[in-house]
């Protein structure tokens, strides 16, 4: 029983990281209709920048957090402006392939700028252990779950109540009509990229905090795919929850079926889910007009 609870909690913790990155996917999909295959790499860059700040500038939590968020915003804006904006109006397939190309470039850039060795991100917290009913949990794990829940609530409120959030939904629903209503689609896209970069970046930093920073981290992006698909590409909240679900499934499969199953449990799960609901659990059915 204790083993099960242990698995569940660490599953929730890693799932929260997947959930954050999956929300990054969903924010971009929701406002631009694209799947950003470079999400994992963007996450990784933010984490590496956070690590660089912590080793060169200061290990203070707030300095690292603010620095990482600013870097993530900048990264999102630069990518949107330089790479994605010129592709506006091109077919979706072409644009998605551009993000794949971008992913390849970013991944190599990381190996080029930093090195190929694993690093630990140490900001003096997150590695302590708290005992909850006899089960040891790392504070970093608790923090990431709390952050995910907070962000879920904040994003729900943002899309529901704020003018900008409504504008983003409008652009996603029909960009031409949105333009006629005086919404600047390009600004909304830029905002979406920045927001997605930040949300996913937070996930990346938490990952580096609880585990290690290494060039293989881009696989987080691949792991977060099932989460987004499970929740539905256009459902930001669903993606967050999908992450938790994938994290738990993965950990249970790893704990009871073997480590090989852990790697693919998420992927196996989305194939099954997509067979039943081809648009994700929380996604909206696409109605095609002929």
């Amino acid at each position: 029983m204790q083993y099960l609870v242990q698995l569940l909690i660490s599953g929730l913790a890693i799932g929260a990281i997947y959930g954050l990155i999956a929300m990054g996917f969903a924010v971009i999909y929701k406002s631009t209709g694209l799947v950003n295959f470079a999400q994992g790499e963007m996450t990784m860059i933010t984490a590496y920048i956070a690590w660089t700040i912590s080793t060169t500038v200061s290990g203070n939590v707030f300095v690292v957090a603010i620095g990482a968020i600013l870097a993530a915003v900048l990264l999102g804006l630069i990518i949107e402006r330089l790479v994605m904006r010129p592709m506006l109006g091109e077919p979706v397939f072409a644009t998605v392939m551009v993000t794949i190309g971008l992913a390849v470039i970013l991944r190599s850039a990381i190996n080029f700028i930093w090195d190929a060795y694993p690093h630990g991100l140490d900001i003096g917290m997150g590695r302590g252990i708290v005992h909850l009913g006899g089960i040891g949990v790392r504070t970093g794990q608790l923090a990431v779950i709390a952050t995910l829940l907070l962000l879920l609530a904040a994003i729900w409120a943002f899309f529901r109540y704020s003018k900008v959030g409504v504008a983003m939904r409008a652009v996603a629903a029909d960009d031409r009509t949105a333009l006629l209503m005086g919404i600047s689609a390009t600004r909304v896209h830029a905002l979406a990229w920045a927001a997605s970069s930040v949300i996913a970046g937070i996930g990346g930093v938490f990952f580096a905090l609880s585990y290690d920073l290494s060039p293989a981290m881009f696989q987080l992006g691949l792991k977060a795919f099932p989460a987004t698909i499970l929740g539905g590409l256009d459902a930001v909240l669903g993606s967050g929850l999908g992450g938790l679900l994938i994290g738990i499934t993965e950990n249970l499969a790893g704990g009871y079926l073997g480590s090989g199953m852990k790697e693919v449990a998420g992927f196996a799960m989305i194939i099954v889910v997509l067979m039943v609901r081809p648009f994700g659990i929380f996604g909206e059915r696409d109605i095609e007009r002929v």
Partner: protein, 348 residues
Amino acid sequence: MRTGDYKQTYGELVALIDSPPVWLWSAVLLLALIAAPYLLNSYTLSFLMIILITVTGALGLNILTGYTGLISLGHVGFLVTGAYAYAVLVSKYHMPPLVGFLGAGVVPALASLIVGAPSLRLKGLYLAITTLAFSFIINTVILEMRWLTNGARGIQVQRPEIFGISFDSDAAFTYLCLAIAALTLFATLNIRRSRVGRAFVAIRDNDTAARVMGINLHAYKLFAFVTSAFITGIAGALYGIYLSFVSVEGFPFLLSIEALAILIVGGLGSALGAVLGTVLIVLLPEATRLVFSLFSAQMDATFTTGAQELKSMLYGLVIILFLRFQPRGLVGAWHDIKRTWVHWPLRY
């Protein structure tokens, strides 16, 4: 002199090659390729082998992604299945290589039925991600089935001997690759101009319209999956033989992306594009290395230390630049050049 395209019968419209000069140049190219193993040194010959093997695989993906418009991010899954099917049959059970090649086609084709069937309801990106999932699952399956595949240890593969002809030497193996690549090219060109090929393209252009015109979407999508996986599997077997060692690590996920890059750079949905794209993408790293070494020995040194990274960055950059500035790929560029050449100084 040719003064225009005059097509008077349906036969002419679907003819494989519609002009004598193209016949001539194709024959010249074929002769050059036949002569190549005797003229090239073993270093350049290895590029030719890789190009021929990659062409086969790219043509396989082209049927699915180029013709039918189903994006697959998991083609490396079929590649690795084919390689393992060949390795298991030939190296482990000592079957004749021809049976091995057949298995290398049939086993991925069966696997494609498994991944294709659930994919029939999916479209676009959801499908792409399902195929991605498939390629990861297949890797795990291979690693777990140790009794058959030796798990992570991999399987040694010898160069084959077919009908008493040994393909042990590089030159002979190049001929084998050439024969298979040429066969594949003919097969895909012929599929494209048949009823099946037209159905594929109709599905790509507008699946609802295709369905209204009486095309069985499920059957044709599955058929595209099976054909594509069959060809890709054979390419996988060839690649395994080329590496002389089949393991999961030999087929990284990057190959899937490379294959898509080849199609895009060449021109999506065109067999010629697949060939041109392959040549460009395979030779790109080597070409950059040459350019770098021209500038200075010191830059050459940087290039060797960060070679892998620079190579990948270049891939990414080429994909992005092509999509941005030449979305129809090399084939599109070639058509533009031809048109300009014929009509200059008029625009058309």
